[in-house]
Amino acid sequence: MLRASARAGVGAAGLALVGCGDDDDDDQQQAMAQAQQQDQDQQQAMQDQDQQQAMQQQAQQQQAMQQQDDQAEQQAMQQEQQEQSAAEAQAQQEEEQAVADDNIDYNATAIGAYGAFPQILDQGSALARGGQSASNNYHFGAVFPLDPFGSAVPGGLAEWEFVGAEALIVRMNEGRTFHNGDPVTAEDIKFTIDRLTGKAEYNPEYNSAWTGELSWTGDNELLDENTLRIEQGAPSVDAANSLALGGFPVFPKNYLEEVGDDGYGQFPVATGSFKFVEWSPDEYIKSVRNDDYFNDREYAYAPRLPYLAGFEARLIPEIGARVSALEAGEVDVANSIPPDLAVPLGETGDYNVFYHPAQRGLHIKLPMTIEEDPYNPGQPNPWRDRRVRIAANLAVDVDAITQNIMTGRENYTYTLSSGQFGFPEELPEQRWGYDPEEAKRLLAEAGYEDGVETDLIYLSGLYTNDQLFMEAIAEMLREVGFIVNLIPEDISKFLGEARNKELVAPYLFPQSAGFTSIGSMAISVDSAATYEHRVEVLSDERAEVDRLIAAAKTEFDTEKRRELLSDLVRIHYLEASWIFLFELVQTHVAASRLHWDPYFLQPPSVELWNLKSMKT
């Protein structure tokens, strides 16, 4: 358009220069003017035509450009779609490849056979213990995750902060929910602690299984809706760890108050990696994966988001029937199978045998705090003589027992396990080995050439092959001069007598599992512990043990605490305070079609969050 206007201006100026003349020249001038006008009209027409053509051309160009742009955009979109499809296809292919490689079936449901079931599914209740850990603790999740060494780690329902030895501050993490979708709040944590310590208003008589673990708690107070302050009534370095113990339950306040203790025991709503679906007592417990579980499958610690879509626990009390159900393909995992049945199954290649160190050191408690010999009134108690206790340890060939009667994978126990916090690494060099001749010499030196008369009590049928290994131990003790009367006892009778401090004989007992190093020592070694013999007199060494336990409980400096624990274990072991035996190993058998990365933590059962799939 601008170019056409310029051309018209130049033509008019040229005609004005040519038309300067006389009247004779008017016609010529008029003709010339007409001619000029015609030229101008022609030029104008040409200009208009040019202009139109230019406009058309421009429009065409614009259209073409637009089309090109559109085409380019379409091509880009197509290319993007193609790339996206290719990426999706590749991802799917990779996923399929991963599934093919790892046999991960995210829709699989596994069935596990157990020998015992709880009567209620409330993990907080003392009445639920015995079977509970083997069947439904995966419904529950602690406040903090726990590392394999018994220490709380970040990334759970909440984070924590110590206020010296005064209090523990618990700050809730966002996005944590119960199985029913309700958010987990600081008020729920407060309610949980109140319920487990008998302070919940709705039922102060609740029979809690966790009073010991929470004995450090004092009053607690909600600072705001996300923050709870728990006073340390009895300062403990294990305060945070106790809220991280395997299977520690966190209860939804609103739901529990609505359904009551009885209702909760029948239908638990919690925070664990599996959600409870339904159960039939002593028959089955069905659960599904908690897809909202906050720690993904790559999280460093257990529990994590499960691979399995579902899990069914079945009760099969009889061991042979449990194995048969596994062989018939009715169940995928059989728990607690004795080694004499498990090992041949593993040798077929169709099954994998898993050995789970339960960190429960079996030992024989010696009545060294009782003053008089119960079998020879008026005489001093022989077990107060360190030489007699050492002789008893030297008399028992623990390795022969584990190799020939147990799985052969049991570790010798030194009170704490090797690897547990505070275990003195040099202690195994000072182990009481099997030396019957030295045992006889020590007994003679202590003045017991004619032997030491004693009963030896054990709980019949509580542990795999317990009758066999206790008979072996009794016979080994007899070989060096102990006059042993082996007594199998019923658990109810035994526990009652032990609590009432009526037992005066040595007795078989397990180190308590599920505790931190200090907690474990306190409940197993402290002379005031529930199942210790009655205390009539303490030796200097026993008094030192009690003092070290009390000091370790309140020592917040990690290294100093480690040293205190090491000293404690050293004294306890070298004083031969127990007859030290071995750490229990539980044996489970799983069909080899299960893909499973063993990652053992509490509790002593197959870790369901690691079962990935079934090859059919």
Partner: protein, 311 residues
């Protein structure tokens, strides 16, 4: 006549009550002697004070005679208290398992009679023949083999090879097959022997000879005359076998993971859960006594001689 029948029924009913009273009394004192339930159920680190509080709560610190009196009064009101373990009424816990045990018991009895009666008849009719000998050997095995062993053998040699039959549990209708066979094997042997011996006795009676002399078919003689008259002994056995079936169920339910009363009783005894033990034993004893009462009374209808006082 009717008053005699009524007096008989009332007399037997009173005797049944006395039996039940004796059973519950024995169970009460025996369960108290089995140990302290609180020590078993309390947390491992519970203090002595907590133990004492729990005992007080359950009334276990009261004098034994007081506990017994309370127990009898509760029975009258059909109250057995809360299960120590399940924290629910013991009657609820027992009731949940009762259906499974009745199913298994009925199936076991069916197996016993379905096997025992035909074999007994055949053995009697073909006395001294191969069938008789094999039946008697089978009966010997049935009564000699412990049912826990038979159960395990059936699992090993049947369930593992026939996919249709599960090794245990109560997850499908066919789950009952093996436990019922195991449970029914012992009473089947008894039923077979009783049927055989009753049939042999009956077949020698004059009226059987008469029936044959009348020209009745052997089928009619056997089933219409001989079997019917032999059933009195077999029905007597039914009353006895109900008790056997219930006691057998305790083992069979454990072997086959059948969630019934037998398994519950075992667990409750181990855990010294008195209320559940007492409720279970009372229920089973009442059941056995009731069945025997029904059997006793039914004689009078089956055998006219009893009704008329001829025997």
């Amino acid at each position: 006549m009717r008053s005699e029948l009524g007096a008989t029924a009332v007399g037997r009913f009173l005797r049944s009550i006395a039996v039940v009273f004796g059973v519950v009394t024995i169970v009460f004192f025996m369960s108290r002697g089995a140990g302290d339930p609180v020590s078993r159920l309390a947390p491992i680190d519970a203090s002595q004070q907590e133990i004492e509080e729990a005992k007080e709560r359950y009334g276990l610190n009261d004098p034994m005679i007081e506990q017994y009196g309370r127990f009898l009064w509760d029975i009258v009101r059909l109250e057995f208290g809360q299960s120590f373990r399940a924290t629910r009424p013991a009657t609820d816990v027992v009731g949940e398992r009762l259906v499974a045990t009745i199913q298994l018991g009925a199936a076991g009895l069916f197996v016993a009679f379905a096997i025992g009666i035909p074999l007994g008849i055949v053995a009697a009719v073909r006395r001294g023949g191969a069938t008789d000998i094999f039946s008697r050997i089978g009966a010997l095995f049935g009564q000699a083999v412990p049912n826990f062993w038979l159960g395990l053998m059936l699992i090993l040699f049947v369930a593992l090879y026939i996919d249709f039959i599960p090794t245990g549990g109560r997850t499908s209708p066919q789950s009952i097959i093996l436990p019922a066979i195991t449970l029914g094997s012992f009473p089947a042997a008894a039923v077979m022997r009783f049927t055989r011996s009753a049939m042999l006795d009956t077949l020698q009676q004059d009226y059987i000879r008469t029936a044959r002399a009348k020209g009745l078919s052997e089928r009619a003689v056997l089933f219409k005359h001989a079997l019917r008259n032999s059933m009195l002994a077999v029905i007597t056995l039914l009353g006895l076998q109900v008790g056997n079936i219930l006691s057998g169920a305790i083992i069979v339910e454990t072997v086959f993971a059948w969630p019934g009363l037998g398994q519950l009783i075992i667990q409750s005894i181990v855990a010294t859960d008195y209320p559940v033990v007492q409720a279970s034993v009372l229920l089973t004893s009442v059941w056995i006594v009731f069945i025997n009462l029904v059997v006793d009374v039914s004689y009078t209808f089956i055998d006219p001689r009893i009704r008329t006082g001829a025997i």
